[in-house]
């Protein structure tokens, strides 16, 4: 489903210094896989996530998502692709403040060109993460774990091909982390493709495949049976 070929990303810092964050990444991820991408901080992890998530375009190489070349897409096409195919989960939840859980989950749907009962779909997604009784709560009225579950509901609501989570447990206590990881496992069991970006080995190990990166390249690709 995801095919990265010789992906490179180079930033130009102020003063003309070039920073080569990704240096020829090759990677294939099949539909239904549960993959962790591990890298030390500042080693291209976020850039990988942005490129896979179609938030950013690579400087070089090819990226096929569901057989469609992403590198050449214009801004509107990238937006549409994010809307239809990607569900993001962030470390800091990134919920809209002063906006109810329901409205937060509705967010991807209002940018969808399809006709649907937005509120009903959003409500169903909240119920799927066990927050059917919290629809009208504001993020500030929810615990960290609950907020991250709202964020997962938002990532799921438009039925994307790919769930892309960036350190999803980084801001959570152990109990909440376990809850959130259980949801990801369940999503994987339901046949969804899940990619976790993390630097914590104990989180990464819960996936069925661990890809380790260093200095902008893939250094190991380990498949696990227990995941």
């Amino acid at each position: 489903m995801i095919a990265l070929r010789e992906i490179s990303k180079t930033y130009h810092k102020e003063g003309g210094v070039e920073v080569r964050v990704l240096r020829g990444v090759n990677l294939d991820i099949e539909k239904g896989e549960f993959v962790s991408i591990m890298a030390p901080s500042g080693m291209g992890k976020s850039t990988m996530m942005n490129i896979i998530g179609c938030l950013d375009r690579p400087t070089g190489g090819k990226y096929l998502l569901d057989g469609v070349e992403v590198a050449g897409m214009n801004d509107d096409d990238l937006s549409r692709t994010r809307n239809k195919k990607i569900g993001f989960v962030f470390q800091s939840f990134n919920l809209l403040p002063m906006t109810s859980a329901l409205e937060n989950v509705e967010l991807p749907l209002i940018y969808s060109p399809d006709d649907m009962d937005i509120a009903a779909k959003a409500r169903a997604a909240l119920e799927a993460v066990g927050l059917g009784d919290r629809v009208n709560h504001l993020p500030s009225e929810l615990s960290g774990g609950q907020q991250q579950r709202v964020a997962i509901a938002r990532a799921l609501v438009n039925d994307p091909a790919l769930i892309l989570a960036d350190e999803p447990t980084g801001n959570l206590d152990t109990a909440s982390s376990d809850e959130v990881m259980a949801i990801f496992k369940r999503l994987h069991a339901e046949g969804r493709t899940v990619i976790l970006v993390t630097h914590e080995p104990e989180v990464a190990e819960q996936a069925s495949r661990i890809i380790r990166m260093k200095d902008g390249q893939v250094v190991s690709d380990e498949r696990r049976v227990n995941g």
Partner: protein, 403 residues
């Protein structure tokens, strides 16, 4: 994204920061309210003056004693205009249907029984009625035998009747003016206010000869009223009249006239001219206040975009296109200005009505302020919101989401 959703999004965005939204609106509210008040009051004032011009009478040329640019009747001490001037005008100016020389004496007391009221005494000939197109409602007007015989008969305006007689019929009664008894022989129809705001019904008309020789002991007249055959000849007649009097009074151009000639067409033109100047001034005022309001909105919008970078990044991550973000912020600006515009109009109308009520100034309410408010405020919203909205839409999602 559908328009309804866009509006909902903009509304909820505004609702999350009510104080800021209100402050954004305030400039527009004040601007549009001011505009509405001035339009209502200016139109009211213009209507009042136009009504006065109408009351003053059609096809009228008025010659007053005394020069300068003063408006309204001369005071009794000006003695530059005489009956001979009137006769000369009648003989040499063509196009005049009626001519009525008369005297005007302001602030005179008229007494009936134990009641008295301050009024204006007009000394008039029988032609006065035709020249003014103003006739008696009951009784008779001053006749030829009144002027030739210096009779002590008088005709009352409606205000004097009301003040002195209440509901009683005044005809046949006796009133006192300047220690002289006058018999009331007629009552004039109601006329209303003059273009200068004077109550034209507050008057007593006596024979011209009686006024000149018995009441005020003068050989001069105050004014001459002409009724011109055709409206189109008003300016021509006015010019000819001025020429005749100048010749009689030996006035050559650098010298100032010792009389004034005015006519209804010129009066109406003056009013329209004033109102045109006023309208231009108002548009300028509105433009400035809306410009200031617009600048403050643009300013706050820029701050808002900056503060909401993270929100923009999140929306982009979940599929908002640049055009959706632009629409959201532009929508907020336009909704704020439209709401401010409508609020300002309502506030302005309320203020206009209050001023009209408490100060007795007529206000004319109309649909124009609403149309102007909607058009102007939407325009200001688009102009003020466009650049901030563009900036919001141009943000890179990756950078924006970091906040």
């Amino acid at each position: 994204m559908k328009t309804g959703q866009m509006i909902g999004l903009a509304l909820s965005g505004l609702g999350k920061n009510k104080m800021r939204s209100f402050l954004m609106m305030l400039g527009i509210i004040i601007g549009i309210a001011t505009l509405t008040v001035i339009i209502s009051l200016a139109r009211g004032a213009q209507m009042k003056v136009m009504k006065g011009v109408q009351n003053f009478g059609a096809n009228a040329v008025m010659i007053s004693a005394g020069g300068g640019k003063m408006f309204g009747p001369p005071d009794g001490s000006t003695t530059t205009l005489t009956l001979d001037d009137a006769r000369a005008i009648q003989e040499s100016v063509k196009g005049i249907k009626h001519i009525a020389p008369f005297t005007v004496n302001l602030a005179q007391t008229v007494v009936f029984g134990n009641k008295n009221t301050e009024t204006v005494i007009f000394g008039a000939t029988p032609e006065f009625a035709d020249a003014w197109q103003w006739f008696v409602e009951g009784g008779d007007f001053i006749g030829d035998e009144d002027t030739s015989g210096l009779s002590k008969n008088c005709v009352l305006g409606q205000t004097v009747v009301r003040e002195l007689f209440g509901g009683q019929d005044p005809i046949g009664e006796t009133v006192r003016i300047n220690n002289t008894n006058f018999k009331v022989i007629g009552v004039l129809t109601k006329r209303g206010a003059s273009p200068h705001g004077m109550d034209m019904d507050n008057r007593v008309v006596v024979p011209l000869t009686t006024a000149m020789r018995k009441l005020f002991n003068t050989t001069a007249i105050g004014m001459i009223r002409l009724y011109v055959e055709e409206e189109g000849r008003l300016d021509e007649v006015s010019a000819n009249v001025a020429a005749v009097i100048r010749e009689r009074h030996h006035i050559t151009p650098p010298q100032e006239d010792d009389f004034r000639v005015t006519n209804t067409a010129a009066m109406a033109k003056t009013v329209q001219g004033v109102s045109k100047t006023l309208t231009t001034f108002l548009l300028l005022l509105a433009a400035i206040s809306l410009l200031v309001g617009g600048i403050s909105i643009a300013n706050i919008m820029f701050i808002s975009v900056n503060e909401r970078k993270k929100e923009i990044g999140i929306r982009r991550a979940f599929g908002a296109r640049a055009v959706d973000i632009r629409g959201q912020f532009l929508g907020e600006a336009v909704i704020v200005t439209l709401a401010g515009g409508l609020g300002g109009t309502l506030l302005g109308l309320a203020i206009s009505l209050s001023i009209a009520h408490w100060k007795g100034i007529p206000a004319m309410l109309s649909w124009q302020p609403f149309a102007l408010a909607v058009a102007f405020s939407a325009l200001v919203g688009i102009l003020a919101g466009l650049q901030p909205a563009r900036r919001a839409a141009a943000l890179d999602p990756v950078t924006a989401i970091r906040g």
